[in-house]
Symmetry: C2
Subunit: 247 residues, 2 copies
């Protein structure tokens, strides 16, 4: 076999040693006689996978203890809906602000507009997203549920080198294209989310790191499986454990 490299902006290559280990264990995980996708998500063996994943992420990314790590459905784009559904309740006027440095930020704002007032705080759309736009944090209304940014937009090369200091307004960052590829101070953020398909895992899953005080404010119309508190309360095994939580 010839090893190749996929430099496309979509799903990317995973480290060869990771892929080889997954392949070797595919039919028989730790002598169980079944693959890890075939065993119960409530088994001790799968619980150990989840716990180890948490530990490694905390260590690699420096995630403080007052943040929850969630493994969620739908990739990063589903979080364009989940973030406003979970956070707009923090604002009396259901308002949130977006800084747009590429089409993903625009799309995220349009999704939020289904549920409240989603406004563009700054944008470089008029010059083809060729830069991070000027932005004055003091221009944000006090009643802002959160400020949303895309930390790096590979298509345009618009990358935040340092992040806006938003004080008490939670900063939300879509870090899909670069999570774990640079050191960041997690405590600057209310929520960080990332689709896994770039360098962390298969397409369809996303990682959400959320500060604990932002849980529990979901709007009434939030589907249970987009409510971050449901994931936080079930160690991301919400699909079956919500039966216990909600009945």
């Amino acid at each position: 076999m010839t090893q190749v490299y996929n430099f496309g902006a979509g799903p990317a290559m995973l480290p060869a040693e990771v892929m080889k280990k997954a392949q070797a264990e595919f039919l028989d995980y730790q002598g169980m006689g079944a693959g890890v996708i075939e065993i119960s998500h409530r088994s001790d063996e799968f619980d150990a996978v989840l716990n180890r994943c948490d530990e490694l992420l905390k260590e690699l990314a420096g995630i403080p203890d007052n943040y929850k790590i969630l493994y969620v459905h739908g990739g990063a784009q589903m979080q364009f809906s989940a973030v406003p559904l979970n956070l707009l309740g923090l604002s009396a006027t259901k308002s949130a602000s977006y800084i747009e440095t590429g089409t993903w930020g625009v799309k995220a704002r349009k999704e939020a507009a289904r549920y409240g007032n989603a406004t563009t705080a700054a944008s470089s759309a008029d010059t083809g997203f060729d830069r991070i736009p000027e932005f004055d944090v003091s221009s944000l209304p006090a009643d802002t549920a959160y400020l949303h940014i895309t930390s790096n937009n590979t298509l345009y090369g618009t990358r935040w080198h340092s992040f806006p200091q938003t004080g008490t307004i939670p900063l939300v960052a879509d870090m899909t294209s670069e999570f774990l590829s640079r050191e960041i101070d997690i405590s600057q953020f209310g929520i960080i989310f990332a689709g896994l398909q770039k360098n962390l895992g298969p397409a369809g899953l996303a990682l959400v790191i959320v500060r604990e005080d932002l849980l529990g404010h979901a709007l009434k119309e939030t589907p249970s499986l987009l409510d971050y508190s449901v994931y936080a309360g079930s160690h991301s095994l919400a699909n079956t454990t919500t039966l216990l939580l909600f009945t």
Copy 2:
């Protein structure tokens, strides 16, 4: 290695020949030098995977041409939200009816209640879900968006042997525990959905088979990635192609 059998009600065993083929191709799909999870979802090779999956499902399940096959996020439980979000718009009073033959049906109704009037048309809860309850189709109000059933509930052994004839009211069935394990007449249903983890694939994905005339009625508060018409219009590659559809 010792082959085992997992008879648990959660994730189940996949056929050994399927697992072996997936393992053999894990690092190098069709000589591409990368695994199928590492290549672009817009490549000809992945397109062929999707098309073949459609063909096989149509053949095995006898899916008529006026139905769309969707591969969606969140497992079956996410469809407890998606079904009302997509169909309640068919009813002037946003009403839907549920027949409850286990806890999943109850949970599905509670999710629907976030978006409209979700009522229990019949239930065997009072006797511990020990049977399929008596039900008179003529008792359904004319303005009913759909009737929801769970075709088989393994925990209680409540299985529909024949299905209610609902006329012009779409019948929606959660077939997670038995899809592809019995012959059914798909044309009796408006929507069939099933989580894949029982006998079709890994946990987290779901299959939705929807009659075409039921697309395009999603409520305004429907997240884009729960809108079945978005999946139908993008061959289930909505996460990135919605950029093209919506901007």
